[in-house]
């Protein structure tokens, strides 16, 4: 690597470290970092404790765990590679606009820039691997093997994706590029046939078919490069680890070499991709989605509904969802539909407490972090809302309508999925769950937005080791969960009291319980209105 680039890399790493230390210098940064540390400690303690830890009774012994890794890890990595092929553009080496302005115009060879970028990536991946090593379950193997395996695998994933997408760019406009979609269609058809076969066959599930493919001679040939990385994770001795690590390093070096060669042929495309990715990141920083539409023009909708001032706000968020988050909605709805069949296949029905906890985390933590169609994505546009002649409560309600309805659709999908696949979920239970899901969703997003307006902060982490951001995300989630559980407890208590008073039927207690939850949801909306009024753009936005 060029000495100047090496120095830049060191300076940037040092700058990142300094930024983290500065975070610790503030009380808030220190508290959130401590919270993050506490959660990590909890994960370590859960993993190291004997018997059922965080992973409950579903934990496997080392041999079974190793078999699972050897079977499914290569398949997952192949799936990831195919996904990179299907996506028209993939994660090549991304240079930020300031890197392009300073480095591309500097006296550096292109290959030096690629190596510099690769070096930065390896530094980041080393940190991620250290984190994986800390939280990895004990049956995974020694700390050294987990670290080496994670590091080399993550580097491989990045290089593999880069080479695949660069090959795609290099082949653009050639005859081979035309083969891409028919091949994808063929593979899709094979996958569909396999799913239908697994569905129809009473004694074979989709995982059985995947396992059979993995252990067939064809599967072994197709998956050879990926199997190397699975072997790294299950290596039982230092000599085994060294052997597989050496092969993995050779594969990664070959891929890096291929990336450098391919990059020379795709410089123009690479620049365009960099600009596109930079725009996306800028959009994400302002609350947008990575998958937002990249079209320049769309057919305008002529009029917005008024609905007493609530209409235009909800309409704006509906357009935002349609053009910014449509793919996210589709992905999450698909995931929601798969929850019941997957949990059933893994032997943990949706009524199991552990599965319920996962569903809650999916619905109340992962979904809100990705689907942003409310105030959280509009902090940079608060000036507009503040100057509108619309009452604050209408603005707040308008902001929540679309987000709550979309999340509710995903909740309904989970319920429908459970109704179809889970025998213990009857139609009455599903209807009751559907009725309670709406006020619960309102409550979750009203709390989420209130907290966000009271303590506004960036939506994306500043790099891998932004412990303050991670700590804050976890603290927010815990606070929100306490509030939501308290509201559910209050709602349940009202239902119980009503049942004691009225006696036989569950309809009236259920209604009283639902009404209480709905009322708490609307009361939280009042808190949101207070937070909106209190939000002073120049004083609080970061």
């Amino acid at each position: 690597m060029d000495p100047a680039l090496r120095q830049l890399l060191i300076l940037r790493l040092r700058g990142g470290l300094r930024q983290r230390l500065l975070q610790l210098a503030s009380v808030r940064g220190l508290l959130f970092s401590l919270a993050f540390g506490a959660i990590v400690w909890f994960l370590i303690a859960s993993n190291s404790s004997a018997g059922a830890g965080l992973f409950g009774s579903a934990v496997l012994d080392r041999q079974a765990f190793g078999e699972q890794i050897m079977t499914f890890m290569p398949l997952s990595m192949l799936g990831l590679s195919l996904l990179t092929v299907v996506m028209t553009t993939g994660p090549t080496f991304h240079f930020s606009p300031n890197e392009i302005n300073f480095l591309f115009t500097g006296p550096f060879r292109r290959r030096d820039l690629i190596v510099y970028k690769f070096g930065a990536y390896v530094a980041g991946v080393a940190l991620t691997s250290a984190f994986i090593t800390i939280i990895a379950p004990p049956q995974t193997g020694s700390a050294l093997s987990v670290f080496m395996a994670s590091l080399l695998t993550l580097v491989f994933v990045q290089l593999n994706s880069a080479v695949i997408s660069m090959s795609g760019h290099a082949l653009d406009g050639t005859r081979l590029a035309k083969v891409k979609w028919p091949v994808i269609a063929l593979l899709g058809a094979v996958a569909a046939v396999a799913v239908v076969f697994a569905w129809a066959a009473p004694d074979r599930g989709i995982f059985d078919l995947l396992s059979e493919f993995r252990h067939s001679w064809l599967g072994t040939i197709v998956l050879i490069p990926y199997i190397v990385f699975a072997e790294l994770f299950v290596a039982t001795s230092i000599s085994q680890l060294a052997l597989w690590a050496l092969i993995a390093v050779i594969i990664n070096v070959a891929l890096l070499r291929a990336a450098i060669i391919l990059d020379e042929r795709t410089t123009d495309r690479s620049l365009a991709e960099n600009a596109r990715l930079s725009n996306r990141w800028e959009r994400i920083k302002q609350g947008g989605s990575f998958f937002a539409t990249e079209r320049t023009e769309v057919r305008s909708i002529r009029r917005a509904p008024i609905v007493g001032g609530l209409g235009p706000i909800a309409w704006r968020q509906a357009l935002n969802a349609l053009r910014n988050s449509f793919k996210i909605i589709i992905i999450f709805t698909g995931l929601a539909a798969c929850i019941a069949p997957i949990s059933l296949a893994l032997g943990a029905p949706v009524t199991d407490a552990y599965t319920v906890m996962i569903i809650y985390v999916f619905f109340a933590f992962i979904l809100p972090r990705n689907l942003v169609c409310d105030f959280r994505g509009d902090l940079s546009r608060m000036e507009i809302y503040k100057t509108l002649p619309i009452a604050p409560w209408r603005i707040c309600a308008g902001q929540l309508v679309v987000q709550v309805l979309l999340a509710y659709v995903i909740a309904l999908t989970i319920i429908a999925s459970a109704l179809v696949f889970e025998n213990s979920v009857t139609t009455q239970v599903a209807l009751a769950l559907a009725a309670f899901a709406l006020p619960l969703t309102l409550l979750i997003y009203a709390v989420e937005n209130t907290v966000h307006l009271l303590f506004p902060i960036k939506l994306v982490a500043m790099g891998r080791a932004d412990f303050e951001f991670l700590g804050r995300a976890i603290v927010e989630f815990i606070a929100k969960t306490i509030f939501v559980f308290a509201a559910m407890a209050a709602s349940g208590a009202v239902g119980l009291v009503t049942f004691k008073m009225t006696g036989t039927t569950l309809v009236l207690p259920g209604f009283a319980s639902w009404l209480t939850l709905t009322l708490i949801g609307f009361l939280t909306l009042v808190a949101l209105q207070y937070a909106f009024r209190r939000f002073a753009v120049a004083e609080t936005i970061e």
Partner: protein, 250 residues
């Protein structure tokens, strides 16, 4: 139309604006002049309800911005220095959004006229994040003009505009004032004040240092060229303040 009395704004112990009083009548264009941190943007943001005042009274078209915010905002149009538009909406949809927010039943004709006057007709279906900064500025101004406000506040209105755009915006501001709107412009461009403003207020460190008509200022300094006069007034006030601060520190 705009009446500000004893307005002060404090941020955590720092006084951004101190006991400011002025008024702007229909047809008048007031230019706010002052160095960075003088309190110009704070004054505009408070007038349009983005931030609350610490004390004092601010009336827009006879409505107090704190007690009757909705009524005040109905009569107000604000164009910030860096317009943050909704990146998933087209130019036309911004106008449709503003029409619904201000409850305008028939806005299409006025919206078309605004698109034509700001040369945005061919961009009506463009998503705004694909527009240049100058274009986005024009969209923000069109949105602010749509409900025909009686009070218009501009914060650095010419940033990012090409010469043609500058001429167009200046013309639009003049026409709005002639139609009876009270206008405040905050800018560092002295030539803009020379071309447009009927009144000038010089702010420094949150306080009003000079307030009067353009003619008053010209006669006071004795210049025939208004830009030179403004420049002289500006530097005499800000430099005098710096000297006072240095003396106090010594």
């Amino acid at each position: 139309m705009i009446k500000v009395t004893n307005f002060s704004k404090q941020y955590k112990g720092f006084t951004a604006v101190k006991k400011l009083s002025f008024s702007v009548e229909p047809g008048q264009i007031l230019g706010l002049l002052g160095p960075n941190g003088a309190g110009k943007t704070t004054t505009l943001r408070t007038l349009c309800g983005i931030i609350p005042p610490s004390s004092g009274s601010l009336l827009v078209a006879g409505h107090n911005v704190v007690e009757e915010p909705i009524a005040a905002k109905r009569n107000l149009g604000y164009i910030p220095d860096d317009p943050r538009l909704f990146d998933t909406m087209t130019v036309w949809e911004h106008l449709a959004f503003m029409a619904a927010a201000y409850r305008l039943a028939d806005f299409e004709k006025d919206a078309e006229a605004l698109l034509t006057s700001f040369e945005l007709t061919h961009k009506r279906d463009t998503l705004v994040h694909n527009l240049s900064r100058g274009m986005r500025q024009k969209v923000a101004i069109a949105c602010a003009f749509l409900h025909d406000p009686k009070v218009i506040l501009f914060d650095e209105p010419l940033t990012g505009l090409d010469p043609q755009g500058i001429r167009g915006i200046q013309q639009a501001i003049r026409e709005r004032a002639q139609a009876g709107a009270a206008i405040i412009i905050s800018s560092h461009l002295l030539s803009l004040f020379e071309n447009l403003c009927t009144h000038i207020m010089v702010l420094n460190l949150g306080e009003c240092r000079r307030f009067g008509t353009m003619e008053d200022l010209l006669s006071e300094v004795g210049h025939s060229d208004s830009t030179s006069a403004l420049e002289e007034v500006y530097f005499s006030i800000t430099q005098a303040q710096e000297q006072t601060s240095e003396t106090a520190a010594a």
